[in-house]
Protein backbone atom coordinates (compact mmCIF):
# COMPACT_ATOMS: atom_id res chain seq x y z
CA UNK A 1 0.00 0.00 0.00
CA UNK A 2 1.48 3.34 -1.01
CA UNK A 3 0.78 4.94 2.38
CA UNK A 4 3.03 2.53 4.25
CA UNK A 5 5.72 2.77 1.61
CA UNK A 6 7.00 5.95 3.30
CA UNK A 7 6.44 4.60 6.80
CA UNK A 8 9.72 2.73 6.50
CA UNK A 9 12.63 4.97 7.53
CA UNK A 10 14.61 3.75 4.50
CA UNK A 11 12.11 5.35 2.07
CA UNK A 12 11.26 8.35 4.26
CA UNK A 13 14.92 9.43 4.57
CA UNK A 14 15.42 10.46 0.91
CA UNK A 15 11.92 11.97 0.75
CA UNK A 16 12.65 14.14 3.81
CA UNK A 17 15.98 14.99 2.23
CA UNK A 18 14.27 16.44 -0.83
CA UNK A 19 11.45 18.11 1.13
CA UNK A 20 13.14 20.06 3.86
CA UNK A 21 15.36 22.39 1.75
CA UNK A 22 12.35 23.35 -0.39
CA UNK A 23 10.26 24.04 2.72
CA UNK A 24 13.09 26.07 4.26
CA UNK A 25 13.42 28.31 1.19
CA UNK A 26 9.63 28.78 1.01
CA UNK A 27 9.53 29.58 4.74
CA UNK A 28 12.19 32.32 4.47
CA UNK A 29 10.44 33.83 1.45
CA UNK A 30 7.09 33.92 3.26
CA UNK A 31 8.72 35.29 6.41
CA UNK A 32 10.32 38.16 4.48
CA UNK A 33 7.00 38.91 2.78
CA UNK A 34 5.15 38.73 6.10
CA UNK A 35 7.63 41.02 7.84
CA UNK A 36 7.52 43.45 4.97
CA UNK A 37 3.71 43.61 5.09
CA UNK A 38 3.66 43.65 8.89
CA UNK A 39 6.26 46.31 9.44
CA UNK A 40 6.34 48.34 6.28
CA UNK A 41 2.83 48.30 4.91
CA UNK A 42 0.40 47.79 7.81
CA UNK A 43 -0.63 51.02 9.60
CA UNK A 44 -0.21 51.50 13.34
CA UNK A 45 -3.05 50.41 15.60
CA UNK A 46 -5.49 53.03 16.99
CA UNK A 47 -5.23 52.03 20.67
CA UNK A 48 -1.90 50.23 20.94
CA UNK A 49 0.28 52.33 18.67
CA UNK A 50 3.22 50.46 17.17
CA UNK A 51 3.50 47.90 20.00
CA UNK A 52 0.79 45.73 18.43
CA UNK A 53 3.29 44.62 15.75
CA UNK A 54 4.49 41.97 18.19
CA UNK A 55 1.41 39.95 17.15
CA UNK A 56 3.18 39.25 13.84
CA UNK A 57 5.45 36.89 15.77
CA UNK A 58 3.39 36.16 18.90
CA UNK A 59 0.24 34.77 17.28
CA UNK A 60 1.95 32.54 14.66
CA UNK A 61 4.29 31.12 17.29
CA UNK A 62 1.41 30.41 19.70
CA UNK A 63 -0.65 28.69 16.99
CA UNK A 64 2.29 26.56 15.93
CA UNK A 65 3.13 25.54 19.51
CA UNK A 66 -0.41 24.15 19.76
CA UNK A 67 -0.48 22.61 16.26
CA UNK A 68 2.90 20.88 16.73
CA UNK A 69 1.66 19.25 19.94
CA UNK A 70 -1.40 17.96 18.08
CA UNK A 71 0.91 16.72 15.29
CA UNK A 72 2.98 14.90 17.92
CA UNK A 73 -0.22 13.33 19.30
CA UNK A 74 -1.21 12.31 15.75
CA UNK A 75 2.15 10.62 15.12
CA UNK A 76 1.98 8.98 18.55
CA UNK A 77 -1.44 7.47 17.91
CA UNK A 78 -0.12 6.25 14.55
CA UNK A 79 2.90 4.75 16.30
CA UNK A 80 0.86 3.04 19.04
CA UNK A 81 -1.66 1.60 16.56
CA UNK A 82 0.52 0.65 13.57
CA UNK A 83 3.76 0.20 15.50
CA UNK A 84 5.68 2.01 12.76
CA UNK A 85 9.25 2.90 13.73
CA UNK A 86 9.11 6.23 11.94
CA UNK A 87 6.30 7.70 14.09
CA UNK A 88 8.41 7.64 17.25
CA UNK A 89 11.27 9.35 15.41
CA UNK A 90 8.94 11.96 13.91
CA UNK A 91 7.41 12.81 17.31
CA UNK A 92 10.88 13.08 18.80
CA UNK A 93 11.92 15.39 15.94
CA UNK A 94 8.93 17.70 16.45
CA UNK A 95 9.25 18.09 20.23
CA UNK A 96 12.24 20.49 20.49
CA UNK A 97 10.78 22.87 17.88
CA UNK A 98 7.42 22.79 19.66
CA UNK A 99 9.06 23.53 23.00
CA UNK A 100 11.02 26.42 21.46
CA UNK A 101 7.88 27.93 19.90
CA UNK A 102 5.95 27.57 23.18
CA UNK A 103 8.75 29.42 24.99
CA UNK A 104 8.82 32.12 22.30
CA UNK A 105 5.05 32.47 22.64
CA UNK A 106 5.48 33.17 26.37
CA UNK A 107 8.44 35.48 25.74
CA UNK A 108 6.69 37.59 23.11
CA UNK A 109 3.44 37.49 25.15
CA UNK A 110 5.26 38.91 28.17
CA UNK A 111 6.96 41.61 26.08
CA UNK A 112 3.59 42.55 24.63
CA UNK A 113 1.97 42.55 28.10
CA UNK A 114 4.42 45.12 29.50
CA UNK A 115 3.37 48.03 27.26
CA UNK A 116 -0.29 47.01 27.34
CA UNK A 117 -0.90 46.29 31.03
CA UNK A 118 2.27 47.36 32.74
CA UNK A 119 3.24 43.81 33.86
CA UNK A 120 5.29 41.18 32.09
CA UNK A 121 3.17 38.26 33.31
CA UNK A 122 -0.63 38.25 33.12
CA UNK A 123 -2.39 35.15 34.48
CA UNK A 124 -4.52 35.10 31.37
CA UNK A 125 -6.14 31.82 30.38
CA UNK A 126 -4.23 31.45 27.13
CA UNK A 127 -0.81 32.46 28.51
CA UNK A 128 -1.26 30.07 31.46
CA UNK A 129 -2.28 27.24 29.17
CA UNK A 130 0.76 27.95 27.01
CA UNK A 131 2.94 27.72 30.13
CA UNK A 132 1.45 24.30 30.92
CA UNK A 133 1.90 23.24 27.28
CA UNK A 134 5.59 24.11 27.63
CA UNK A 135 5.75 21.79 30.67
CA UNK A 136 4.12 19.03 28.61
CA UNK A 137 6.79 19.47 25.92
CA UNK A 138 9.61 19.42 28.49
CA UNK A 139 8.06 16.34 30.12
CA UNK A 140 8.03 14.50 26.77
CA UNK A 141 11.63 15.49 25.95
CA UNK A 142 12.85 14.56 29.45
CA UNK A 143 11.11 11.16 29.42
CA UNK A 144 12.28 10.15 25.94
CA UNK A 145 15.88 11.13 26.66
CA UNK A 146 15.87 9.39 30.07
CA UNK A 147 14.97 5.98 28.65
CA UNK A 148 17.87 4.38 26.79
CA UNK A 149 16.06 1.55 25.01
CA UNK A 150 14.87 3.14 21.74
CA UNK A 151 11.70 1.08 21.36
CA UNK A 152 10.56 1.66 24.93
CA UNK A 153 11.33 5.38 24.86
CA UNK A 154 9.36 5.76 21.63
CA UNK A 155 6.30 4.04 23.00
CA UNK A 156 6.52 5.68 26.44
CA UNK A 157 6.84 9.06 24.69
CA UNK A 158 3.86 8.22 22.50
CA UNK A 159 1.79 7.42 25.60
CA UNK A 160 2.77 10.71 27.25
CA UNK A 161 1.96 12.67 24.07
CA UNK A 162 -1.47 11.03 23.73
CA UNK A 163 -2.34 11.45 27.43
CA UNK A 164 -1.10 15.06 27.24
CA UNK A 165 -3.12 15.79 24.11
CA UNK A 166 -6.26 14.42 25.77
CA UNK A 167 -5.60 16.76 28.71
CA UNK A 168 -4.81 19.96 26.73
CA UNK A 169 -8.50 20.92 26.17
CA UNK A 170 -9.35 19.97 29.79
CA UNK A 171 -6.46 22.11 31.08
CA UNK A 172 -7.47 25.03 28.85
CA UNK A 173 -11.11 24.73 29.99
CA UNK A 174 -10.16 24.58 33.66
CA UNK A 175 -7.72 27.53 33.34
CA UNK A 176 -10.41 29.51 31.46
CA UNK A 177 -12.90 28.76 34.27
CA UNK A 178 -10.31 29.64 36.89
CA UNK A 179 -9.49 32.91 35.10
CA UNK A 180 -13.11 34.06 34.90
CA UNK A 181 -13.66 32.94 38.51
CA UNK A 182 -10.85 35.12 39.83
CA UNK A 183 -11.49 37.96 37.36
CA UNK A 184 -9.17 40.46 39.00
CA UNK A 185 -8.21 43.93 37.86
CA UNK A 186 -6.16 42.82 34.85
CA UNK A 187 -7.91 43.19 31.51
CA UNK A 188 -8.34 39.83 29.88
CA UNK A 189 -6.14 39.09 26.89
CA UNK A 190 -8.97 37.55 24.94
CA UNK A 191 -10.30 40.46 22.88
CA UNK A 192 -7.54 40.69 20.25
CA UNK A 193 -7.43 44.04 18.42
CA UNK A 194 -9.75 44.65 15.46
CA UNK A 195 -7.80 43.24 12.52
CA UNK A 196 -7.44 45.51 9.52
CA UNK A 197 -7.22 43.29 6.44
CA UNK A 198 -3.59 44.16 5.73
CA UNK A 199 -2.63 43.28 9.33
CA UNK A 200 -4.41 39.97 8.90
CA UNK A 201 -2.50 39.12 5.71
CA UNK A 202 0.75 39.99 7.47
CA UNK A 203 -0.08 37.65 10.32
CA UNK A 204 -1.22 34.84 8.04
CA UNK A 205 1.96 35.12 5.97
CA UNK A 206 4.02 34.90 9.15
CA UNK A 207 1.97 31.93 10.39
CA UNK A 208 2.62 30.05 7.16
CA UNK A 209 6.29 30.95 7.37
CA UNK A 210 6.63 29.62 10.92
CA UNK A 211 4.65 26.51 9.96
CA UNK A 212 7.01 25.74 7.07
CA UNK A 213 10.00 26.55 9.27
CA UNK A 214 8.81 24.02 11.86
CA UNK A 215 8.19 21.39 9.18
CA UNK A 216 11.61 21.95 7.61
CA UNK A 217 13.47 21.75 10.92
CA UNK A 218 11.53 18.64 11.96
CA UNK A 219 12.25 16.83 8.67
CA UNK A 220 15.92 17.82 8.84
CA UNK A 221 16.19 16.58 12.46
CA UNK A 222 14.31 13.36 11.73
CA UNK A 223 16.96 12.53 9.12
CA UNK A 224 19.66 12.72 11.79
CA UNK A 225 17.53 10.64 14.19
CA UNK A 226 17.01 8.01 11.47
CA UNK A 227 20.78 7.86 10.88
CA UNK A 228 21.45 7.31 14.58
CA UNK A 229 18.61 4.84 15.05
CA UNK A 230 19.42 2.78 11.96
CA UNK A 231 23.19 3.15 12.21
CA UNK A 232 23.54 -0.64 12.13
CA UNK A 233 21.49 -1.02 8.94
CA UNK A 234 23.35 -1.58 5.71
CA UNK A 235 21.34 0.98 3.71
CA UNK A 236 22.58 3.69 6.08
CA UNK A 237 26.21 2.68 5.83
CA UNK A 238 26.05 2.77 2.03
CA UNK A 239 24.66 6.32 1.89
CA UNK A 240 26.93 8.67 -0.10
CA UNK A 241 27.06 11.25 2.67
CA UNK A 242 28.12 8.58 5.16
CA UNK A 243 30.88 7.39 2.86
CA UNK A 244 32.00 10.98 2.34
CA UNK A 245 31.99 11.60 6.08
CA UNK A 246 33.96 8.39 6.63
CA UNK A 247 36.72 9.40 4.23
CA UNK A 248 36.74 12.84 5.87
CA UNK A 249 37.06 11.19 9.32
CA UNK A 250 39.68 8.79 8.02
CA UNK A 251 41.73 11.75 6.73
CA UNK A 252 41.83 13.72 9.99
Amino acid sequence: MKLFHYAAPQHFYPLAGRLWPALAVLATALALAGLWVGFMVAPSDAQQGQAYRIIYIHVPVSWLAMIIYLAMAFWSVLGLVFNTRLSGLMTRALAPTGALLAFLSLWTGALWGKPMWGTYWVWDARLTSMLILLFLYLGYIALTSAIEDPRRSDRAGALVAVVGAVNVPIIYFSVQWWNTLHQGASVSFTQSPRMASVMLTGMLLMSLAVWLYAAAIALWRVRSLILVRESHALWVQLLPEVQAHRTLRGAT
Partner: protein, 230 residues
Protein backbone atom coordinates in the same frame (compact mmCIF):
# COMPACT_ATOMS: atom_id res chain seq x y z
CA UNK B 1 -2.04 -31.99 42.81
CA UNK B 2 -2.98 -29.06 40.59
CA UNK B 3 -5.35 -26.21 41.24
CA UNK B 4 -8.18 -26.97 38.84
CA UNK B 5 -11.02 -24.48 38.78
CA UNK B 6 -10.08 -21.04 37.39
CA UNK B 7 -11.91 -18.46 39.55
CA UNK B 8 -13.23 -15.28 37.93
CA UNK B 9 -11.01 -12.16 37.50
CA UNK B 10 -12.87 -10.60 40.46
CA UNK B 11 -11.16 -13.15 42.70
CA UNK B 12 -7.80 -12.17 41.23
CA UNK B 13 -8.52 -8.49 41.91
CA UNK B 14 -9.46 -9.11 45.54
CA UNK B 15 -6.25 -11.13 45.86
CA UNK B 16 -4.12 -8.23 44.61
CA UNK B 17 -6.02 -5.78 46.83
CA UNK B 18 -5.69 -7.86 50.01
CA UNK B 19 -2.04 -8.59 49.28
CA UNK B 20 -1.14 -4.91 48.85
CA UNK B 21 -3.10 -3.86 51.93
CA UNK B 22 -1.49 -6.60 54.04
CA UNK B 23 1.98 -5.58 52.88
CA UNK B 24 1.28 -1.91 53.57
CA UNK B 25 0.09 -2.72 57.09
CA UNK B 26 3.26 -4.73 57.68
CA UNK B 27 5.48 -1.87 56.51
CA UNK B 28 3.77 1.25 57.88
CA UNK B 29 6.79 3.57 57.64
CA UNK B 30 6.37 4.22 53.91
CA UNK B 31 2.80 5.44 53.75
CA UNK B 32 2.75 7.04 57.19
CA UNK B 33 5.66 9.17 55.98
CA UNK B 34 3.48 10.63 53.20
CA UNK B 35 0.70 11.43 55.72
CA UNK B 36 3.18 13.16 58.06
CA UNK B 37 4.48 15.11 55.06
CA UNK B 38 0.94 16.40 54.47
CA UNK B 39 0.57 17.49 58.10
CA UNK B 40 4.03 19.13 58.18
CA UNK B 41 3.57 21.11 54.97
CA UNK B 42 0.15 22.31 56.16
CA UNK B 43 1.78 23.43 59.44
CA UNK B 44 4.70 25.23 57.74
CA UNK B 45 2.63 27.77 55.80
CA UNK B 46 1.17 29.64 58.81
CA UNK B 47 4.72 29.87 60.18
CA UNK B 48 5.89 31.30 56.88
CA UNK B 49 3.00 33.68 56.22
CA UNK B 50 2.08 34.73 59.75
CA UNK B 51 -0.84 33.90 62.05
CA UNK B 52 -3.17 36.65 60.72
CA UNK B 53 -6.57 34.80 60.47
CA UNK B 54 -7.93 36.49 57.34
CA UNK B 55 -4.94 35.69 55.13
CA UNK B 56 -4.82 32.14 56.51
CA UNK B 57 -8.48 31.66 55.73
CA UNK B 58 -7.85 32.95 52.21
CA UNK B 59 -4.91 30.64 51.46
CA UNK B 60 -6.17 27.66 53.52
CA UNK B 61 -7.83 25.57 50.79
CA UNK B 62 -5.01 26.20 48.32
CA UNK B 63 -2.29 25.23 50.79
CA UNK B 64 -4.06 22.07 51.93
CA UNK B 65 -4.77 21.01 48.35
CA UNK B 66 -1.19 21.55 47.20
CA UNK B 67 0.09 19.70 50.30
CA UNK B 68 -2.26 16.77 49.54
CA UNK B 69 -1.14 16.76 45.90
CA UNK B 70 2.55 16.66 46.84
CA UNK B 71 1.94 13.99 49.52
CA UNK B 72 0.18 11.71 47.05
CA UNK B 73 2.97 12.25 44.51
CA UNK B 74 5.50 11.36 47.20
CA UNK B 75 3.95 7.93 47.75
CA UNK B 76 3.71 7.09 44.03
CA UNK B 77 7.20 5.59 44.00
CA UNK B 78 5.99 2.72 46.14
CA UNK B 79 3.27 1.78 43.66
CA UNK B 80 5.17 -0.32 41.08
CA UNK B 81 8.84 0.01 42.00
CA UNK B 82 8.98 -2.74 44.67
CA UNK B 83 6.97 -5.19 42.55
CA UNK B 84 9.18 -4.46 39.54
CA UNK B 85 12.30 -5.18 41.58
CA UNK B 86 11.20 -8.51 43.05
CA UNK B 87 9.58 -9.86 39.89
CA UNK B 88 5.95 -9.97 41.04
CA UNK B 89 5.00 -7.41 38.39
CA UNK B 90 5.99 -9.99 35.75
CA UNK B 91 3.82 -12.59 37.43
CA UNK B 92 0.98 -10.06 37.47
CA UNK B 93 1.47 -9.42 33.75
CA UNK B 94 1.22 -13.18 33.15
CA UNK B 95 -1.91 -13.47 35.31
CA UNK B 96 -5.09 -14.97 33.88
CA UNK B 97 -6.95 -11.80 34.91
CA UNK B 98 -6.49 -8.77 32.59
CA UNK B 99 -3.55 -6.60 33.64
CA UNK B 100 -5.61 -3.39 33.68
CA UNK B 101 -7.96 -5.00 36.24
CA UNK B 102 -5.06 -6.02 38.48
CA UNK B 103 -3.57 -2.53 38.18
CA UNK B 104 -6.87 -0.91 39.15
CA UNK B 105 -6.87 -3.15 42.23
CA UNK B 106 -3.33 -1.95 43.03
CA UNK B 107 -4.46 1.66 42.54
CA UNK B 108 -7.41 1.18 44.87
CA UNK B 109 -5.09 -0.26 47.52
CA UNK B 110 -2.68 2.66 46.96
CA UNK B 111 -5.49 5.19 47.31
CA UNK B 112 -6.86 3.56 50.47
CA UNK B 113 -3.41 3.82 52.02
CA UNK B 114 -2.20 7.21 50.77
CA UNK B 115 -5.34 9.10 49.71
CA UNK B 116 -7.92 8.30 52.37
CA UNK B 117 -5.78 9.38 55.38
CA UNK B 118 -5.38 12.82 53.72
CA UNK B 119 -9.14 13.12 53.36
CA UNK B 120 -9.72 12.19 57.00
CA UNK B 121 -7.01 14.56 58.26
CA UNK B 122 -7.94 17.55 56.13
CA UNK B 123 -10.81 18.88 58.36
CA UNK B 124 -8.46 18.75 61.35
CA UNK B 125 -5.78 20.73 59.53
CA UNK B 126 -8.41 23.06 58.11
CA UNK B 127 -9.13 24.20 61.64
CA UNK B 128 -5.56 25.49 61.85
CA UNK B 129 -6.42 27.78 58.94
CA UNK B 130 -9.61 28.95 60.61
CA UNK B 131 -11.95 27.54 57.96
CA UNK B 132 -15.69 27.51 58.67
CA UNK B 133 -17.34 24.09 59.20
CA UNK B 134 -19.04 24.01 55.77
CA UNK B 135 -15.74 24.90 54.12
CA UNK B 136 -14.11 22.01 56.01
CA UNK B 137 -16.87 19.72 54.77
CA UNK B 138 -16.41 20.88 51.18
CA UNK B 139 -12.62 20.53 51.50
CA UNK B 140 -12.97 16.94 52.69
CA UNK B 141 -15.49 16.21 49.90
CA UNK B 142 -13.28 17.64 47.15
CA UNK B 143 -10.27 15.73 48.52
CA UNK B 144 -12.38 12.56 48.69
CA UNK B 145 -13.13 12.91 44.96
CA UNK B 146 -9.80 14.50 43.99
CA UNK B 147 -7.22 12.20 45.60
CA UNK B 148 -8.34 9.13 43.58
CA UNK B 149 -7.82 11.19 40.43
CA UNK B 150 -4.34 12.11 41.69
CA UNK B 151 -3.57 8.43 42.28
CA UNK B 152 -4.98 7.37 38.90
CA UNK B 153 -3.01 10.01 36.95
CA UNK B 154 0.06 9.52 39.15
CA UNK B 155 0.02 5.79 38.38
CA UNK B 156 0.50 6.56 34.69
CA UNK B 157 3.57 8.65 35.53
CA UNK B 158 4.89 5.96 37.89
CA UNK B 159 4.42 3.22 35.28
CA UNK B 160 6.06 5.26 32.53
CA UNK B 161 9.15 6.06 34.62
CA UNK B 162 9.50 2.52 36.02
CA UNK B 163 13.14 1.57 36.29
CA UNK B 164 14.28 4.84 34.66
CA UNK B 165 17.20 6.70 36.25
CA UNK B 166 16.04 9.93 37.85
CA UNK B 167 12.46 8.71 37.56
CA UNK B 168 11.21 10.66 40.59
CA UNK B 169 11.95 14.11 39.18
CA UNK B 170 10.68 13.01 35.79
CA UNK B 171 7.41 11.86 37.35
CA UNK B 172 6.66 15.28 38.83
CA UNK B 173 7.50 17.00 35.53
CA UNK B 174 5.14 14.66 33.67
CA UNK B 175 2.34 14.82 36.22
CA UNK B 176 2.11 18.47 37.29
CA UNK B 177 0.46 19.60 34.03
CA UNK B 178 -2.04 16.78 34.34
CA UNK B 179 -2.82 17.70 37.96
CA UNK B 180 -3.83 21.31 37.06
CA UNK B 181 -7.55 20.66 36.37
CA UNK B 182 -8.01 18.70 39.62
CA UNK B 183 -6.22 21.41 41.62
CA UNK B 184 -8.21 24.21 39.97
CA UNK B 185 -11.60 22.63 40.60
CA UNK B 186 -10.70 21.30 44.03
CA UNK B 187 -9.62 24.64 45.43
CA UNK B 188 -12.29 26.44 43.38
CA UNK B 189 -15.05 24.44 45.05
CA UNK B 190 -13.91 25.32 48.57
CA UNK B 191 -13.36 28.95 47.54
CA UNK B 192 -16.85 29.20 46.05
CA UNK B 193 -18.27 27.58 49.16
CA UNK B 194 -16.56 30.10 51.40
CA UNK B 195 -17.92 32.98 49.31
CA UNK B 196 -21.40 31.58 49.66
CA UNK B 197 -21.77 30.67 45.99
CA UNK B 198 -21.84 26.92 46.72
CA UNK B 199 -19.36 24.52 45.10
CA UNK B 200 -21.78 22.14 43.34
CA UNK B 201 -20.56 23.09 39.85
CA UNK B 202 -16.94 22.43 40.74
CA UNK B 203 -17.76 19.18 42.50
CA UNK B 204 -19.65 17.90 39.46
CA UNK B 205 -16.67 18.68 37.21
CA UNK B 206 -14.39 16.90 39.71
CA UNK B 207 -16.68 13.86 39.54
CA UNK B 208 -16.50 13.96 35.75
CA UNK B 209 -12.69 14.04 35.95
CA UNK B 210 -12.78 11.09 38.36
CA UNK B 211 -14.97 9.00 36.05
CA UNK B 212 -12.86 9.85 33.00
CA UNK B 213 -9.53 8.99 34.62
CA UNK B 214 -10.98 5.86 36.26
CA UNK B 215 -11.94 4.65 32.79
CA UNK B 216 -8.73 5.55 30.92
CA UNK B 217 -5.91 5.34 33.46
CA UNK B 218 -5.84 1.55 34.13
CA UNK B 219 -5.58 0.87 30.39
CA UNK B 220 -2.76 3.40 29.97
CA UNK B 221 -0.96 2.01 33.05
CA UNK B 222 -1.23 -1.55 31.74
CA UNK B 223 0.29 -0.46 28.43
CA UNK B 224 3.09 1.40 30.24
CA UNK B 225 3.79 -1.54 32.57
CA UNK B 226 3.98 -4.01 29.69
CA UNK B 227 6.37 -1.58 28.07
CA UNK B 228 8.54 -1.45 31.18
CA UNK B 229 8.64 -5.24 31.42
CA UNK B 230 10.02 -5.67 27.92
Amino acid sequence: MNALALPSPWQAISGVLRRDLRMALRRKSEWLGAVFFFVLVAALFPLAIGPEPDTLRLIGPGVLWVAALLASMLSLGRLFEADHQDGSLEQLALSAAPLSWSISAKLLAHWLISGLPLVLLSPLLGLQFGLAPEALGMLALTLLIGTPVLSLLGAIGAALTLGVRGGGVLQSLLLLPLYVPVLVFGTGAVDAQMRGLGGQAHVSVLLALLLATAALSPWACAAAVRLALE
